[in-house]
Symmetry: C2
Subunit: 672 residues, 2 copies
């Protein structure tokens, strides 16, 4: 990122030329024969003979010659992983397979960049790198045809789709290839290319759209990425002309089997299906009196002969709830629906569970479903697109949030990352045809961090940010790089906490503008059918989800969490209003009252933006050299909008609770 | 309305065959030679010789032969009006002109139908009918090209546009002709055919769209309706390629003069322009440092040689207001902007003023602008399309509202109808390509009543409803007709009051879902930039618009109203919260407290829907004969939706104020 790129060109994100330059400078040999060989060669340049190579990229059991290097024999290369061998003579990247080798090459570039950032030198020796999760996937909520309400990309804040334009799959997939390369460097290995809300045009990707799907899959395969499709459960009716989509109907099963056969004929390494069924209006097995297991197993049966997987989303709840009804609790829904089905799902079904019980709020407890189904493969889903976390107009580095989820000891001992290791980690993509990929240039770090934490949940968010900085600003003079590093940590390390600070307080969530989910509306979802309530009155606020007096949601947790959340005295402050309805005067563990916390945190979080803006301003002399001018312009636009919106959040939330509680803000700050 | 019409056909509204049948049965002679002659003949059938005619339709100074009837000589026929002469031998309809004669014919049909309804017989003799307002106009907020947010008809709830489809003016204008005939029967004499928010496609109606405009004008002319266009103030730039639209620029004036010349070449009786300038993002003279008078007079200068009129909308306010700022008051805006310009507008400018200072809320005070500009021609604008009054899903007969506005003695003595008599009355149309014209079949009565009250504001809303019933159900057996009459009065007479009863209380307004304006959202516009606030807190509610302590808006009124509204003790209950911020315990003139009124009225108004539904149910045995089955189905759908929505209004408003005030509802009814 050392050149001043016009905004019309695509920003190189974390793989600028300078990030690969140290490796490209080495005489190298790519000993791959699979689909990723070309990508590796493109990044390294022409091969030299192995004996002359300072850098060798190879796959275990792949092309010959590796054994001659003396590094293969005793090495245990983990599935999907790679080994780096640094000897005084050369560096060898040895992947478990073709795709793993390519990922290993980018890992080497990353280590090289980080070494430059930190001033360290990689030690000689052998390091082994294994993915914690076998499935590391991005879901694109991209529509082929622009949806009249949701647009080209549902909940997208980065322009149009890189896959689709003008109602068709793009002819030019250059951008898709660049994207796949970026993903490979993060460790992501699978992409679902269309929206889980499958509309009429998108449903047809499964049938007459297959040649186009195959074109996309061909591009993704070159970077070790498998292709998945979101499909409509009603496909046998919609596309096949059958009178039913009943899982128990043999004609339905036969239709799916034939459809899947055609998919694999076009895409031999096709990954499988993502299915949102009986959720928010999508069709599903309920219409036929069948269970989610029946529905998932139907598709699994068709995919099994080909090695494909069904990712069945657990985001099932009543979206026509009555706000007057305090017994029904949307938070309970996924557990209520799915936990009883544990053991009924086929082996090639993965239940895809959102990280929290609601919907990607800035703060939610970890979904109890992730620990409730030991006989089921479960994946955890996070949202990289910032639907509820600032929509890429607010700077909000999400790695700390995801890290807290993946490390959370949900069953009392094992972290979520371990509980989902048979399933995987899924993220909803934030990418569009925006020149900076993600709208806010610094939101690229979230996409990067997703892949890295899916690979290794024990990485610290700050270290992952260092990686991203090191790669993105590779090649910058070391003094400048150090300043960029310091500034971005100042801006980003605490950005999630700041965003939480000026938005909905203490875990209660959903104080957003209905429909768009952007900007504050404290009562926006309070009288809605969506099951999203805070129940604020003049005396207090919060949702009683205890077993003793509330909806019983707390009881869905294993111990110790069931007890911790049940008791208002032990419930963590940041989740207090998710689990309890308390008076405004309730004293938090922090020592302040609920309402004073609401007042203070909103104001403090906005005040902290001074430091964020100053940090970016401190880099002003680097604009045009280390910091591209167009990127600087975009970041400044976003920071200004974040400030405007954050002030609006602060003032609306503070004023709402002042008007409602009548409690004077002890700080004396202005309310309206 | 005595036949069971399939819904695919267009409902005849208030001119079914049966309404004209008594006149058609008479030997008749139409002595007209103007453009309305064909319409009159079409409704009456072939002429007989005048001497043999029991019914003669003629225009003063028109075709020969009238003098022979002995009824013309001494008659004083008012401009735009007509005289009905009933002798034992015949009935003569004598219009001031061709169009007036046609309106007179429909007036005769109306009187005939009302006589059947009431069992009376029109007395022989001469009656003279003069319009109170010279300009009686409908504004269509129809877009040619479907707007991505606002659709084909902005704030339309009756399907698509009768003028436009598929981005073009319709080829088949049959529906427009039927519409014009209905309007002629109400007295409406002018129609603006496109949205006041003039988008790119619609702007071109003024230039390359003129042949299509002429086709529409040709159809409307056949029923005595003049055609107006909404134009963009920026037209010289948008369409003419000029660098400016500055009113002081001679090239701009010349462009408008030439453009208007071309309009009149295509439409010789063209009415003129409607202009929304410097309002909600529309272009206007402010960009050039010119006043609204400068802007309006520019267009007036171009129209004057042709006798055309500019209708310049006074709906100008700051739509980017700050909700924290209690000094700025949107209600003040029109008076602040326009009153100082009194005397500066050209004679062929009419200032078009919304009936209230805000935006067509169910209850607003009458706009003080209507009395503030004695040297300016002023028109009053009401909204027939029910944007804020139930969107044609709720039954809300608006004649009582409009009647209260037109009769209001705003300057202390003269009613609004008199104050605007040099300007006119304008209504925003509710019509679309819906088979029942207005979505809710019973909302036809609003369109009908608009024309009738514009003609004669002293008519009682109940009598106008009788007229509409008599015409719409003409031909029904008298016993059945009496039942329909009774049922519809039960349903409609108090429907506006009921709608007010379950929605925003005591004049405060705007508790609607942002964007759509349909359904409740108490805080929906509270923290918005639109200047629409209720300022409810735990202690009280309302907007202080007094001179003494508030925004000073009350001082824009002439006496006695300035004093009446200023004093909380004399301010009418129904406007209390528009003018005053009061504690929830404030005792209304009605004897109850504000908050108990809020609780009671919401519940009582919903409870009253029982009677509405029962009244319609009482006609069940007439379905298929007097009441068309498709109309019954549609009415039942709407009543069910009204019930659902009204319950939502009731519960949300009651619950909101319970949660906020903590005051127990003395009635013990349920809150949530």
């Amino acid at each position: 990122m050392t050149t001043d790129t016009a905004v019309a060109t695509v920003h190189p994100a974390w793989l600028p030329d300078a990030a690969l330059a140290p490796l490209r400078a080495l005489p190298s040999a790519v000993l791959l024969s699979g689909p990723c060989a070309a990508a590796a060669r493109a990044d390294l340049g022409p091969d030299v003979p192995v004996a002359d190579a300072d850098l060798v990229v190879a796959a275990a059991g792949g092309a010959g010659g590796v054994a001659d290097l003396g590094v293969d024999g005793g090495l245990d290369i983990p599935a999907g992983g790679h080994v780096l061998v640094r000897t005084p003579d050369r560096t060898v990247v040895l992947g478990a397979d073709d795709a793993s080798a390519l990922r290993g090459l980018y890992a080497l570039a990353r280590e090289t960049a980080v070494a430059a950032l930190t001033g360290s030198t990689p030690a000689p020796g052998v390091t082994t790198h294994a993915p914690e999760q076998p499935l590391r996937m991005l879901d694109h909520w991209d529509n082929v045809a622009v949806h009249p309400v949701m647009g080209q990309v549902e909940r997208g804040y980065s322009g149009g789709s890189i896959f689709y334009a003008d109602g068709e799959v793009r002819t030019d997939l250059t951008r898709v290839a660049a994207y796949a390369r970026l993903l490979a460097a993060t460790g992501v290995e699978a992409v679902a290319i269309n929206n889980v809300n499958v509309h009429a045009r998108e449903a047809r990707l499964l049938t007459d759209g297959l040649p186009d799907v195959a074109r996309i899959a061909d591009v993704l395969r070159g970077y070790g990425i498998r292709t998945f499709l979101s499909v409509s459960f009603a496909s046998p009716r919609l596309l096949g002309g059958l009178p039913t989509a009943d899982p128990a109907d043999p004609d339905v099963a036969a239709w799916w089997a034939a459809a899947v056969d055609r998919v694999y004929a076009a895409v031999p390494d096709f990954g499988g299906f993502v299915v949102k069924a009986d959720s928010e209006g999508q069709p599903g097995p309920f219409a036929y009196g069948r269970s989610h297991a029946d529905g998932a197993n139907l598709l699994a049966g068709a995919l099994r002969p080909h090695g494909g997987t069904v990712l069945w989303r657990a985001f099932v709840y009543d979206h026509r709830q009555d706000w007057r009804d305090r017994r029904t609790d949307r938070a309970r829904a996924a557990h209520d629906h799915f936990a009883p089905l544990d053991g009924e799902f086929a082996e090639n079904v993965v239940l895809q569970v959102k990280h929290g019980p609601m919907d990607f709020q800035v703060r939610e407890p970890v979904s109890p479903v992730l620990a409730a189904m030991p006989r089921t493969r479960v994946a955890v889903e996070v949202q990289i697109t910032q639907e509820y976390t600032g929509q890429q107009r607010h700077l909000c580095y999400l790695a700390p949030s995801w890290s807290s989820v993946l490390r959370f000891p949900l069953d009392g001992t094992r972290p979520v990352a371990s509980l989902v290791a048979r399933g995987g980690v899924v993220g909803v993509s934030s990418v569009g045809d925006d020149p900076f990929w993600t709208g806010h240039p610094l939101a690229q770090a979230n996409l990067y961090a997703f892949g890295r934490l899916a690979w290794d949940s024990t990485l610290s968010p700050a270290d992952v940010l260092d990686e991203w900085i090191a790669l993105t600003f590779a090649g910058a003079p070391s003094a400048a790089l150090a300043r960029v590093r310091a500034a971005l940590h100042t801006m980003m390390d605490g950005s999630w906490a700041r965003y939480e600070g000026y938005t909905a307080p203490l875990g209660v969530g959903f104080m957003v503008t209905p429909g768009t989910h952007g900007g504050p509306s404290v009562d926006g979802y309070e009288y809605s059918p969506w099951g999203t309530y805070h129940f604020a009155d003049r005396d207090g606020i919060g949702v009683d989800r205890t077993v003793a007096t509330g909806t019983g949601y707390a009881g869905q947790y294993p111990e110790p969490w069931a007890s911790v959340y049940e008791d208002v005295a032990t419930c963590p402050d940041e989740l207090l209003l998710f689990f309890h309805h308390v008076p405004y005067g309730h004293v938090l563990a922090s020592g302040t009252t609920v309402v004073q916390h609401i007042y203070d945190s909103r104001a403090d979080a906005v005040a902290a933006l001074d430091g964020v803006e100053a940090a970016w301003e401190s880099l002003a002399d680097l604009v045009g050299t280390v910091v591209p001018a167009d990127l600087d312009t975009r970041v400044r636009e976003r920071l200004a909008e974040q400030r405007r919106s954050a002030v609006e959040w602060r003032d609306q939330v503070r004023t709402y609770f002042w008007r409602k509680s009548g409690v004077v803000d002890a700080s004396g700050r202005e309310v309206f």
